[in-house]
């Protein structure tokens, strides 16, 4: 009886809290066992809490706080699929970072995962903002945990941009909630095919602010730089911890709030294209993966913008699949970072000789992200491509996505494994990755294969289950889809081989690639230097002006109040009388105004 009640109580708590609470033992644990229990147990508890009550779409935990009605926990099928992805990422990331005895990063990572999870299950805008901000802080700590100069500076830039996004989100939530008179997600909009999606009007002021904040977190074009700046500067495990949450949370928020908002289609399509070119040039393979993340998020944003049941299913599925295979690729690069202290392509090559397991896992990840049939990426991306193909007036968008698919194969499918593990032999013979890393990579690779080969259970979990089942039966493994995808990939690989054979493949050179960050890393200091001189002169002028004015007042008052000054002078009686009359007049004036 009591146990039942306790369970019921535990099931009304937002699953994110379990991970956040688990951060406490992780922060103080000194022995490996406690760490392992906290790192794995926290997410597992969260998972159980997530699954225990059947998904209801109702506000489970309503609170009244400071006059606001809050809903700390609200679960429906859209939250659930993203939540599953986050819990998976937290478990895999926990295993992956087991060798690294860094309590700060462990705790920050758990809080980060928990806060992101909490935001997914938040039932109102205020709770959502709170969790999102907490996630921001924790993620910045993960960047700082590298404890190097570049990481510190990159972390500050990361934090600044994220806080800007958080403030926009906060301001937007406040404005929108005030306008609508409620902060509850369930009351902001109605059901659409059984789910609450696309509930915020993006043309209202508050909606625009929310869209801007979420857009920064989703790394929209021109505000994508935090992603490519921070990820490569983390520790070897930090990028694995960072990669799943912030952008995926943003995709969730876009789906929840702005599904079917047309501009998102074009924004998403643009997001899939331009990182391709940057990734070709980029030398640091972890940065290539960051650009690749940007590109994959573009697919999801585009799908959310299309806003059909199929495309939202596709966005959710791709988000979770992306968490798994991008995590896997980051894990492989992290292993190289751990063993060699660098992931620069110009210094790597031929590593498969001593790191074959890592190479194998990386290849599975590469096949998945390239959407090779029977790997994870194929099951999710096919939905997005089909949704884009079927829409009227979507031909250009569809072509853009198709181009980006070939681009994904280039930077993530070929460049990452080829430059790191094959290519020219760099002569380096690092040791194979530690066992915990291999375990995490093995589990991720297994997941990629399971999702790819047996997509049935995965499709069961998608937001619109019936439509997903229909797609699974009719479309997913239809011959035409498989043929088209295989053709695309085969000929693209062939293009690679031809280019490589004729020496036309651009060589990997060390260097940084200019990006939007130039504006604040180089442009702003230049502007500041240019402006500092006139500003300083102006400030000096103002201070001279004020000090001379004060001096003048002092001098004047000294003359007035000095021993032989104006006030001390003897006045004739008549003057006093006139003064008294004046005061009387002032008082009269005042009384006339009442």
């Amino acid at each position: 009886m009591t146990v039942d009640r306790l369970l019921d109580l535990a099931a009304t708590i937002n699953p994110g809290f379990y991970l956040i609470i688990a951060a406490l033992p992780a922060a103080v644990a000194r022995d490996a066992f406690t760490r392992a229990v906290a790192l794995i147990g926290g997410p597992v508890l969260g998972l159980l809490a997530m699954l225990y009550p059947p998904v209801s779409g109702a506000d489970v935990s309503r609170q009244l706080f400071l006059g606001f009605e809050l809903s700390l926990y609200r679960s429906d099928s859209l939250s659930l699929i993203f939540g599953l992805g986050f819990v998976l990422a937290a478990v895999l990331g926990g295993i992956y970072s087991m060798h690294r005895r860094d309590r700060l990063q462990d705790a920050a990572g758990l809080v980060y995962a928990g806060a992101a999870l909490g935001a997914i299950f938040a039932g109102d805008l205020i709770t959502l903002v709170l969790f999102a901000e907490l996630a921001t802080l924790a993620s910045a700590l993960v960047v700082f945990a590298a404890r190097t100069g570049p990481a510190y500076r990159a972390g500050l830039r990361f934090l600044t941009i994220q806080i800007i996004a958080g403030l926009l989100l906060t301001a937007g939530a406040a404005l929108y909630g005030v306008e609508k008179g409620t902060f509850l997600i369930a009351e902001l909009g109605g059901l659409w095919n059984g789910l609450i999606v696309g509930i915020i009007d993006p043309t209202s002021a508050g909606g625009m602010l929310i869209l801007a904040g979420v857009g920064i977190k989703a790394a929209f074009p021109l505000v994508h730089n935090w992603l490519t700046d921070a990820y490569p500067n983390t520790t070897e495990t930090g990028a694995v911890v960072l990669s799943p949450y912030t952008t995926t949370m943003a995709v969730y928020l876009l789906a929840r709030f702005f599904a079917g908002y047309d501009p998102l289609i074009w924004i998403g399509a643009a997001m899939t294209i331009y990182p391709v070119f940057f990734a070709v040039m980029e030398n640091d393979l972890r940065k290539v993966l960051a650009y690749s993340t940007n590109n994959q998020i573009g697919f999801m944003v585009c799908a959310v913008g299309i806003g059909s049941t199929l495309s939202i299913n596709g966005a959710a599925a791709h988000a979770v699949a992306h968490i798994v295979f991008k995590g896997l690729l980051f894990m492989a690069m992290g292993a190289i970072q751990l063993r060699l202290g660098t992931t620069k392509a110009s210094e790597l090559g031929g590593l498969h000789r001593t790191m074959p397991w890592t190479a194998l896992a990386c290849l599975v990840g590469a096949a998945s992200i390239s959407a090779l049939p029977f790997f994870a990426g194929y099951t999710s991306k096919t939905m997005i491509m089909t949704a884009a193909e079927s829409g009227p007036g979507m031909f250009v968008v569809w072509l853009m996505l198709l181009f980006a698919s070939a681009g994904v194969l280039e930077h993530s499918g070929i460049k990452i494994p080829f430059m790191a593990f094959f290519s020219h032999d760099s002569g380096k013979r690092p040791e194979e990755a530690p066992y915990n890393m291999l375990l995490a990579m093995g589990l991720s690779a297994g997941l990629c294969l399971i999702i790819g080969l047996y997509p049935g259970w995965f499709y069961q979990l998608l937001p619109f289950r019936d439509q997903a089942q229909e797609f699974l039966v009719q479309d997913l493994f239809s011959l035409s889809h498989i043929l088209q995808q295989l053709q695309l990939l085969t000929f693209a690989v062939l293009a690679f081989m031809v280019l490589w054979w004729f020496g036309l493949y651009p060589p990997e050179k060390p260097g940084v690639i200019l990006d939007v960050e130039w504006i604040w890393r180089k442009g702003a200091p230049m502007l500041g230097r240019a402006l500092s001189k006139p500003a300083r002169a102006g400030g000096r002028f103002v201070s001279v002006l004020t000090s001379s004015a004060i001096g003048g007042i002092q001098k004047a008052s000294r003359q007035v109040f000095a021993a032989d000054g104006l006030v001390s002078r003897k006045l004739p009686l008549s003057a006093t009388a006139i003064l008294a009359l004046c005061i009387l007049g002032v008082v009269m004036l005042f009384s006339m105004f009442r």
Binding site: G177, T342, T354, G407, L514
Partner: protein
């Protein structure tokens, strides 16, 4: 005299009596400090019980004197005042504990005067908090100014005296030239100055008179440091840290914004405020103050000065809240006053603790100090995050309420200023703590050598060693690891895996992993490459052929053509890769591009 009146009397009498007692036992420091602490506890108990009683039944009133008809010195308990009194008395206790350590640690002179003036200031604060009318508030407001003057000039050197002159001139000047005429105006217009629920003036003034009175009263409360009357606050930074805490958190500036809140709530009332154009002008000025103060704070290297400018900005938040034409703004303002007090006192105490322990007062000197003072810098970080308004700290709620109120009343400028200033707060407060904890490497490269030496030898001797260790890892790089690995000594120092002695493989290259031999070794060489290319071409051809055979759709467009995907993939891939040549030429820069003196690293203080 009933309980409520007794409490009012005690709240005034305890600090006054404490001041006298402290003077009497001034020669015995231990007794003196004990007395202070006892007074703090007693006052806290009184204010807590006041706070519990407030709102229940009639507010207790205590009239002391009536020098003229319609003009009386009277006290009355109401929620806002009780909150202020509670906050001040609790923080007095905290601050006194801190002062004991600070003043003894720095061996300051004239400590008796210090504690006595502190108690007197608390007496004034209690008077302000419980004042029943503007006249009483004004009297105690002046008492507060004069009782804190000796504290500001405590060190007694030229800088302190100059700061004291500015302090006294600004505060007394503003209150005599602006505040007092404002009060007289209210008295003339309304025949009374009593704080009234819903406002004293509504229905008794026209817009022009109301505007003039509002401007006089808001600017007259110069303790709220609304620009352009803010100059005294940063210049008062010469005072010892506990005094700064008193100025910024406990008493002085809070008395200013409290006066504005009272004037707004009980003299004008939200309804009248919303009709006055002067309120809008003042909101703009406050918004300007918020942003300008934050920007100036970013440029300050001296920690206390940076905190002072931050206070100027945060006070303008409360002023804005008081002037927002909504009752919700008042609640938010009161909450922000409270939250800011607790956060700012934390920050100032941390600054004081850092100064006493290491002598560092500039932000640039604090690099790496977090290693040796983890608790202090953790507290600083918490305080900073609270001021910025990030969860899970209290500042989040007050800022959220403020922004919500600003939005609710369509004051876009105010809302935007608040949002921007939160961000700027992040930029000038958070790095202080973060840099202290994480910036060891940056310190090596950019800080002047003298500071570096002092920071290392002075307070974190272990730092030198750890710095050199950190530097060694990226530099020595893979070569050392490689040689380690080859000698079978384990790779990096992480040490979770033990290296089993490896057998020499029969196939492949020496040292190659057996799995690699099995899976990958036969892929090397040109023959495999050619075979693979041929195989892929064949596969491609088969795929296109299959599509031709199986496809029953008529060719209506380019997309339907068999082999479209193959050709598209080939071309798209080629374009993507070949673009790397021109774009690489155009956009690739040397790796240290951002690290030069002219880059952001050179700016890094």
């Amino acid at each position: 005299m009933n309980t409520g009146e007794l409490l009012i009397f005690l709240a005034l009498a305890v600090p006054l009596f404490a001041a006298a007692a402290i003077y009497a036992v001034g020669r015995m420091p231990d007794v003196r400090e004990t007395l202070t602490i006892i007074a703090c506890i007693a006052l806290s108990v009184i204010t807590i019980s006041m706070f519990m009683r407030v709102g229940a039944g009639d507010p207790p009133t205590l009239t002391v004197a009536r020098p003229l008809a319609g003009l009386e010195i009277a006290f009355r308990l109401e929620p806002l005042g009780a909150l202020f009194a509670l906050m001040a008395s609790l923080l007095w206790g905290v601050n006194s504990l801190f002062s004991v350590g600070y003043m003894r640690g720095k061996r300051e002179a004239n400590q008796t005067r210090f504690y006595m003036c502190f108690a007197l200031a608390m007496f004034a604060v209690m008077g302000i908090a419980m004042a029943a009318n503007l006249f009483t508030l004004f009297i105690f407001y002046e008492v507060l100014t004069f009782s804190t003057y000796p504290l500001v000039t405590h060190t007694g050197d030229a800088r302190a005296r100059a700061a004291g002159r500015v302090y006294l001139a600004t505060l007394v000047g503003a209150s005599l030239v602006l505040f007092l005429p404002g009060i007289i105006g209210v008295q003339i217009v309304a025949g009374s100055t009593a704080f009234t629920q819903g406002g004293l003036l509504p229905g008794r003034v026209d817009a022009t008179t109301g505007d003039i009175l509002l401007l006089l009263l808001v600017f007259g409360a110069a303790k709220a440091a609304l620009m352009p009357l803010h100059g005294w606050l940063p210049s008062a930074m010469v005072a010892p840290a506990p005094v700064s805490a008193l100025l910024h958190a406990v008493a002085v500036v809070k008395a200013g914004v409290f006066a504005i809140l009272k004037v707004s709530a009980y003299i004008f009332g939200p309804d009248l405020i919303s009709t006055l154009p002067a309120a809008t002008w003042l909101l703009w000025i406050a918004a300007g103050t918020i942003v300008i103060a934050s920007v100036i704070a970013m440029t300050k290297d001296d920690l206390k000065s940076r905190l002072a400018w931050s206070t100027v900005g945060q006070l303008a938040y409360v002023t804005s809240a008081a002037l927002l034409p909504a009752a919700a703004g008042l609640v938010a303002g009161g909450l922000h006053m409270l939250v800011h007090a607790f956060a700012k006192i934390t920050l100032f105490m941390c600054a004081g603790a850092i100064y006493v322990a290491t002598g560092a007062s500039k932000v640039s000197e604090m690099r790496g100090l977090g290693r040796s003072m983890p608790i202090v810098f953790s507290c600083f970080l918490i305080g900073a995050l609270c001021v910025i308004g990030l969860p899970p700290f209290a500042g989040m709620w007050s800022k959220f309420l403020l922004i919500k109120a600003a939005f609710g009343t369509r004051e876009w400028f105010t809302a935007a200023a608040m949002v921007i200033s939160s961000l700027l707060g992040l930029l000038y407060l958070a790095p202080v703590a973060l840099r202290a904890c994480w910036s060891r490497l940056a310190m090596d490269r950019h800080a002047p050598s003298s500071v570096r030496r002092r920071a290392r030898t002075g307070c974190c001797g272990a730092d030198d060693h750890s710095c050199s260790m950190c530097r060694a890892v990226p530099a020595g790089g893979w070569r050392r690891q490689l040689s380690c690995a080859n000698r079978g000594e384990g790779a990096m120092s992480e040490g979770t895996q033990d290296v089993a002695p490896k057998e020499k493989p029969q196939l492949g290259e020496p040292g190659e992993h057996p799995l690699s031999v099995l899976l990958f070794s036969w892929m090397r060489g040109k023959l495999f490459f050619r075979l693979l290319m041929a195989g892929l071409s064949a596969l491609g051809a088969v795929l296109i052929a299959l599509e031709v055979v199986l496809s029953h759709r008529p060719v209506t467009s380019l997309v339907n053509m068999p082999g479209f995907f193959g050709i598209f993939g080939f071309l798209a891939f080629g374009i993507a890769v070949l673009s790397g040549w021109p774009f690489g030429k155009l956009m690739r820069r040397p790796e240290d591009y951002y690290d030069t003196r002219s880059g952001e690293a050179g700016r890094d203080r």
